[in-house]
């Protein structure tokens, strides 16, 4: 029998609307599931049981009184701890914000609350979203539900693992260089990085402001579309949010990709990608061809510069954004001195972890006098060339397809060299630099571990990549497989 925690958002929504189940039952089933497995997975930094049950009760009242409901009313979701929740501790995975209670809700939280969604808790992440494994969380490492000795990916590893293990029906994450798509791939869930400007960043703790975007996790494309629908749209408090109209994403999922032009970037088959990943993705591309898509080769010649450009621009922006943590306004504060400079330096020395410091150092160096032109300016120009690659590719193709990650989930502690960890995001980073959208969906298995299939779309073409994802799901069952480790 299907357990309540195994339902999709669509299935649960249908049962809620017919009042065959209540949100209280559904929410309790997820809280029970969290209690049963999260001591092993460690996806959550905070479980908000009381709030969840209160929100579930309110949702049930809406259903029972005939009030307006949305597709997310009464649906229990998990929120990455980089997203501000009013009065609820938002740590960002950092000792710096260990006790921080935001005075306001992020725009996406206002929208989810208005939709009547239920928040189960906040999820673990690499500190300040810097990392690809959650090993850089200041608190603990999340374990992959498919193999508890392996990392779930990151930085949104807690959200991906929570959805994969049935501890939440969907989740929010943030993606600056692959932080939604790579953990989605490693945990066998759908992870969508939205077009820059599609979702308001108001209340998202800033890492690299020209790259950060919030997006959903779900166990299928249709559910991801529902969450995206709820959070997308303009917001005057984020001047980079787009005024473009938000399409009806669910309506776009018509199952047909006949004649759709799908490009396969030749540069995305690099040495070092695991053979099992290559094979699964090649098979997936054949399935897309069988569904009627026109598959063709395409070149994105500046791909190999993606990681180097990113590791100038993202740390540079981070070094500026993280200058705000001074121990004066909020966050950790070193008190044991009367000297202002010593207090500032000790606050940052003790409050930040190693990866965050590494990036602040790298970014400060790249922006410092004498190196600005050679590093930062050069990186900004190469960023233009990477964007131009995509512009040309999307003249000929509607969607681009590739592996989401060069490897399946790696063992916790296996990657100790910082730059080797950075290469985890080799296939995801270019989309952030260009600002386009991308999604990772369950694309098969290699030695029993999930392989993510990445679909990249043009600006604001979330409807197109979700249509491909949904059509693919209709002829495959990878996304319905449950992890056996929990």
């Amino acid at each position: 029998m299907t357990e309540l925690y195994q339902l999709t958002i669509h299935e649960a929504g249908e049962l809620l609307r017919r009042r065959q189940i209540s949100s209280v039952e559904l929410t309790r089933a997820h809280l029970d599931r969290i209690r049963a497995v999260d001591d092993r997975v460690k996806a959550f930094t905070l479980i908000t049981d009381d709030l969840a049950m209160k929100q579930a009760g309110e949702a049930d009242r809406r259903f029972n009184s005939g009030a307006t409901v949305s597709p997310l009313t009464g649906i229990p979701l998990a929120i990455k701890d980089v997203i501000c929740t009013k009065g609820i501790i938002t740590t960002c995975g950092s000792n710096m914000l260990k006790d921080f209670k935001p005075p306001y809700d992020a725009a996406v939280m206002e929208r989810l609350n208005a939709a009547g969604a239920v928040m189960l808790g906040k999820t673990n992440m690499d500190e300040f979203a810097m990392g690809s494994s959650t090993e850089h969380s200041a608190f603990f490492t999340t374990q992959n539900p498919w193999d508890l000795e392996r990392a779930p990916g990151g930085s949104s590893g807690g959200s991906a693992a929570a959805v994969a293990a049935g501890m939440a029906m969907g989740a929010l994450g943030s993606d600056t260089g692959g932080s939604i798509r790579q953990p989605g791939a490693l945990c066998n869930v759908v992870g969508l990085k939205t077009t820059y400007g599609r979702v308001s960043r108001y209340g998202l703790v800033a890492f690299a402001s020209s790259l950060d975007q919030i997006g959903p996790f779900a166990r299928n494309a249709r559910d991801a579309a529902l969450i995206l629908q709820a959070i997308a749209g303009p917001d005057p408090r984020d001047s980079t949010s787009s005024p473009d109209p938000v399409p009806d994403y669910s309506a776009a999922l018509n199952g047909s990709i006949k004649g759709l032009r799908i490009g396969v970037p030749e540069e995305y088959w690099v040495d070092g990608t695991q053979p099992g990943v290559v094979k699964a993705v090649r098979d997936d591309i054949e399935k897309l061809r069988e569904l009627g898509a026109e598959i063709g080769e395409v070149s994105l010649p500046h791909t190999k510069y993606g990681v180097p450009v990113y590791y100038i621009i993202a740390p540079a922006e981070a070094s500026a954004n993280l200058a705000r943590y001074d121990g004066v306004k909020y966050g950790y504060s070193y008190r044991d001195t009367s000297d202002m400079w010593e207090a500032l330096e000790k606050t940052r020395q003790i409050g930040f972890g190693q990866e965050v410091k590494r990036r602040i150092m790298l970014g400060t160096y790249a922006l410092s006098s004498g190196y600005y032109d050679a590093y930062y300016k050069q990186a900004e120009k190469v960023r233009t060339l990477i964007t131009d690659d995509f512009t040309r590719a999307f003249e000929r193709f509607d969607v681009l397809v590739s592996p989401a990650s060069p490897s399946v989930a790696f063992k916790i502690g296996e990657i100790s060299d910082p730059y080797e960890m950075y290469l985890q995001d080799i296939f995801t980073i270019p989309a952030n630099l260009a600002g386009i959208c991308g999604v990772s969906i369950p694309g098969g298995f290699s030695n029993g571990l999930p392989v993510g299939l990445q679909l990249l779309g043009n600006f604001f073409a979330e409807d197109v990549i979700l249509r491909v994802a949904d059509a693919f799901e209709r002829v495959t069952d990878y996304h319905t497989c449950w992890p056996k480790a929990v």
């Binding site: 006790d99 020209s210 510069y305 940052r348 020395q349 150092m361 790298l362 410092s368 590093y375």
Partner: protein, 96 residues
């Protein structure tokens, strides 16, 4: 590629306290990262303009009208030290 003196200088710019051991670690790690990034210098960027952000928008304006904001107590609730509804900081200028 990056020596200890450079690490100390950059740490000072970033106001990041650092142990001697950390100076050594960062010198070696940052050198490895910068060696990998060095391929950027090979790219011909003549005539290419820089991209500062991925947004296709520029200069979103709003009417200059005052909006309701938060009460000082709300915004000060996370402050480590405060006095008279102000953030309290250590002395910046002191008589010696």
């Amino acid at each position: 590629m990056i020596d200890r003196e450079t690490v100390k200088h950059v740490a000072q710019l970033a106001r990041l306290g650092m142990t001697e051991e950390e100076v050594d670690i960062f010198a070696s790690q940052l050198s490895v990262i910068l060696e990998n990034i060095a391929i950027l210098q090979q790219v011909d960027v003549s005539g290419v303009s820089p991209t500062a952000h991925a947004s296709r928008l520029s200069n979103i304006m709003r009417e200059d009208i005052s909006q309701p904001s938060y009460a000082p107590e709300v915004l000060l609730a996370n402050a480590p030290e405060q006095e008279d509804n102000c953030l309290k900081v250590r002395a910046v200028l002191e008589e010696s």
